[in-house]
Structure formats: C-alpha cells, structure tokens
Symmetry: C2
Subunit: 149 residues, 2 copies
Amino acid sequence: MATASGGAPMNRLGFLLAVRGAITDARVRSALGVTGLSPRHAMTLMYLDDAGPVSQQKLAELLAVDPSQLVAILNDLERDELARRRRDPADRRRHIVEITSAGATTLQITSTALTRCEDELFADLTQNERELLSGLLNRIRTADGQYNC
Amino acid sequence: MATASGGAPMNRLGFLLAVRGAITDARVRSALGVTGLSPRHAMTLMYLDDAGPVSQQKLAELLAVDPSQLVAILNDLERDELARRRRDPADRRRHIVEITSAGATTLQITSTALTRCEDELFADLTQNERELLSGLLNRIRTADGQYNC
DNA sequence: TATTGTTATACTCTATAACTATA
DNA sequence: TATAGTTATAGAGTATAACAATA
C-alpha cells in the first residue's frame, strides 16, 4: 500500500493547513456567535476601530471582499447600530463608514470571546510558539498578498 | 483609535489561521481541479491507497465526514472507476471500499499537482520551516482530535 | 432492536452580473 | 463615460433528519 499518494492525507501540508484552518474558522465563528457577529462582521469592526472612518471602497479593499458583499455586512452592523454610514459631502457617491460607541463595546466583548477561543485552540503552544506560527503563516504566498476573509 | 479590538484583525492568530487556511484550501482545490477531484475525493483515494480496503463506516471515520456525505463522494469515484464498492459477504450491510488501478494512477497525478501547489504556497519557507509549521498545526487542539475535511 | 448505508432537504457562505446614483 | 455603492441571483459545500436493508 501507500504507493501512489505518498502516505495519508495529513502528511500533506496543504491539506493539513486547509483542514486546521477550517476547524479554527468553525471555532472562531462559534465563539463570536455570542454577539451574533460573523468573522467578517468582527473584522470589519476591527478595521473601523483600528483605522478610523473610511470609504466603503477602501474598507472592501482592506477586508479583501467584494464591495457588494460589504454592503450586506454594513447593513447588519448599521441595523444593530454598531457602525454608521454617512455620505461624503465632497463626493456624494461615497459613503464614509465609522464605528459607533456601541460598536466599540461589542468589539470588546467579541475580543474577549476571541481570546478565550484562541487560548483553547492553542493551549498546547507556548507564547513563543504562537508567535512562531503566526510568523510562518504570514510568510505563505497568497495570490495577491491580500488577507481575504 | 485601536482601543477596543487590540489592533487589526490579522494580529489575531485565530483569524490569521482561518484566513490562510481558506486561501490554501482554494489553491489546493484549484490545483486538484485538473483531475476533477475535490480535496475530499483526493483524501478518500489517499486513505484507500494508504490503508487498503475498508468499510464505508471506517472510511467515514478516517475522513471525519458524516457517512451520508461519503456516499456522494464514493458515487463520484465509482462512476469514474477510481474506486469500487463491494458487499462484505460476512455482513451484507457492509460495503468494502477499495481503490482501483485507475484510481491509483489518478492519485499519482493528483499528488504531483498537489506538490507543485504546495511548492508555490510555501516557496518562502525552508524544508525545516515547513516541518515546523506542520508540527505546530498538529498541536492545535481540535474538539475531537479528528482531522475533519 | 441496532447497524450500515442511502436519500432528500435545507442552510450558510460566497461569487458574479446587472442596476442606480452621482461625478 | 467612469465610479461608488446596491440589488438580485446562483452556486458550491456542508449538515441533518428520515428512510431502507440487513443483522
């Protein structure tokens, strides 16, 4: 046996990474569920909190999502008053997006949940090893150098 | 700024791993596309090649997929004559699944494509670093100690 | 009554193309 | 004519519950 494949699937780094990533995604998703936010919602709030008010176009670029997908995310966030859109007076085609104070509060709760989730996932790794993992992941060659999400 | 979130999303190891995993999954999927196999199809062939004939139940366990999902995978593989099901004479409820020689050939092509894909993704990592990454990923705590896919 | 495999269904996430309004 | 954002639609992938055949 084991003639053609080069062994079991999980000897393949590509598969291993994809699978562990999917498990992590599911866990993160479930952890964020306490606030009803998806990872993309949470990432959006994080960017808004981190970078301040930006246009939707710029935000879509940061998140590496299609502008049309960002619309739905912002609709949700705005409905829950976690973020706010306003027209750019200088160019009325543009929306300027910003986080609200309720958004910042929710982000903090999210952040706590995320930290607990990570501490479970990476419980067997030291802080050093987590940083090592982070560094290695950041050196994977993506098609566009973007993050996606 | 940057008050509530603890920085941009990609400072979060959970998000980073989920996102890099998704990118890797997409690349692997596209690379495997040359044979028309999905990652799960390919993993199935790998397990069959590696472990020899097994029951569907056992195979579902190895792949960590629901038995009902394995049905569709095996239907595809059997249609293309890459794998074969036969009744277990000892217990006619059981199917014994095995890879065909055409399946082994396809697996080899798949394997080559996968290697090339991995070499692109991990081009900036040395062999040592790839093994390091693999080791770290294997020490992530999954809910059930299973691989999923 | 329990187990093996199957069918049918529905849901989540995402990708894409066509549309509206402003410039 | 080009750009910013929006709407509508379709697709892939997956999860789940009910079902049939055999033990």
